[in-house]
């Protein structure tokens, strides 16, 4: 009988860019290329209606998508209420509402 010392192997928590699934990112790049203009300022998240009440950070979600980190994002993206304030404040003119619609469409297509 092997004694269980309670050790376990943790999975790598870093972003593994080479292995990640970038299908949503590629779809987004093809259908809403303005997403590449993000400079990470956080204006969208600061003004977000949903983000003030629930754990929803649109700036980070859209960065995660571009890195191919999609698992958590698939759940979080549903919290958007499509009020469009993020798009009104974006200093780079990213079409954020369409970014989210396109992410949803990509999730539908890639499963």
């Amino acid at each position: 009988m092997v004694k269980n010392f309670g050790y376990k192997i943790l999975s790598d928590a870093s972003i593994d860019f080479d292995r990640n699934d970038k299908r949503i990112a590629d779809y987004l790049k093809a259908h809403e290329p303005s997403m590449n203009l993000c400079i990470g300022c956080g204006s969208c998240t600061a003004t977000c209606s949903a983000g003030h009440f629930v754990d929803f950070n649109i700036r980070r979600i859209h960065t995660f998508i571009r890195r191919g980190e999609t698992n958590q994002v698939k759940r979080d993206i549903l919290k958007c209420m499509f009020c469009g304030k993020c798009q009104l404040v974006c200093p780079r003119g990213v079409n954020l509402r369409n970014v989210i619609l396109t992410i949803n469409r990509a999730i539908e297509q890639t499963g």
Binding site: I15, D18, N36, L37, F64
Partner: protein, 344 residues
């Protein structure tokens, strides 16, 4: 009246100062240690942000001075003495020169990337510097990996040797951000199938049309920007490289394989700058570059009467600023020689 001026250094600043001084009626000798003038700018293919050919700028400055300035290439200064007559400049070859005024325009050196050992320059074959990439562009060569393959993914690393206490350089080198953006565009232009990733801490697009170039890099060329300083670069058996950084915008560590790494090396003072400052008891900043008497109003003057500074010997500067600074120096020198007080 003696109107002799010696300009030390034949880069953009020295050449510009020499040309402007001769236009203002001075007798100018330009000393350059290399066998040709042009300095660092002469090694650059295209200049940011307009991507104008560097040669065009160098040729223009050279033409403005070549017929009136006595140019001495291959001349190293061994000492500069201030005496009652003015200055005596001793050379490693030839007779000493005398002048009423001396302009120090000895510029800078590029940071030696080997000092950032964890980035693998000089250890891994596929790690090159921004200067080496520029040489590839200038010579019209194709960008390939060490074993001759077209890279599928290139990583550009910002702030190598700058903003880094670990290499003793706390300062920002100013021009590498926009150089990185320019080179990212040029890689995409040459190799449309190659992905480009820029790893940065901040992108300091401080001057006119820089931010627009950054926008163009994202919009037109699809360059990817990842905010985070590279922690280390490791080599795979196939000589590709693994980059490790924090993707600070997601707050997670990130690793990625690239075929080629370009290190955007910053400016450091030349060792000669230290020798000059010791010899003439000039002020230097904590960064090791020479300091003028007053950063606002006497920004080309030193504590030695008749000794002036021009360009990147005072710290990192782009070509546009070096030209403006050298022209300002020339006006100051002329006023000094003519015994005019400059009140502004």
């Amino acid at each position: 009246m003696n109107k002799k001026v010696i300009v030390v250094g034949g880069g953009v600043s020295g050449m510009t100062a020499a040309g402007a001084l001769s236009e203002l009626g001075m007798e100018v000798v330009l000393l350059e240690k290399d066998d040709h003038t042009g300095g660092h700018a002469g090694n650059w293919d295209r200049l940011f942000p307009s991507r104008r050919p560097g040669k065009e700028v160098i040729d223009f400055i050279e033409k403005s001075m070549s017929s009136t300035v006595e140019i001495r290439c291959g001349s190293r200064v061994t000492s500069i003495d201030r005496n009652t007559e003015g200055f005596t400049v001793n050379l490693h070859n030839g007779d000493p020169l005398t002048a009423e005024s001396v302009v120090i325009a000895t510029g800078y050196e590029l940071f030696d990337a080997r000092k950032k050992e964890e980035y693998g320059y000089g250890i891994y074959d596929n790690v090159i510097t921004s200067a080496e990439l520029e040489a590839i562009f200038k010579e019209g060569r194709q960008l390939v990996t060490h074993n001759g393959k077209t890279p599928q993914r290139v990583g550009l690393i910002h702030c190598v040797g700058s903003r880094d206490e670990k290499v003793g350089n706390l300062y920002c080198s100013k021009v590498c951000c926009v150089t990185g953006v320019k080179q990212a565009i040029e890689i995409r232009e040459m190799l449309p199938g190659c992905e480009v990733f820029s790893f940065y801490m901040d992108l300091r697009m401080y001057d006119r049309n820089f931010e627009e170039l950054y926008y163009e890099a994202q919009q037109k060329w699809g360059v990817n920007f990842i905010r985070g300083r590279l922690s280390e670069c490791a080599e795979n058996p196939d000589h590709s490289l693994i980059l490790k950084t924090e993707d600070t915008l997601t707050g997670r560590p990130l690793k990625m394989t690239v075929d080629l790494v370009v290190l955007l090396v910053g400016f450091v003072p030349r060792p000669e700058t230290r020798i000059i400052s010791d010899m003439l008891k000039l002020q230097t900043g904590s960064d090791g570059f020479l300091s003028p008497v007053d950063e606002h109003f006497k920004d080309n003057s030193t504590s030695v009467p008749g000794l002036f500074l021009a360009g990147a010997v005072k710290g990192p500067a782009c070509i546009v600023n070096s030209i403006a600074d050298a022209r300002a120096t020339a006006v100051q020198v002329k006023a000094y020689i003519n015994g005019e007080m400059v009140k502004w």
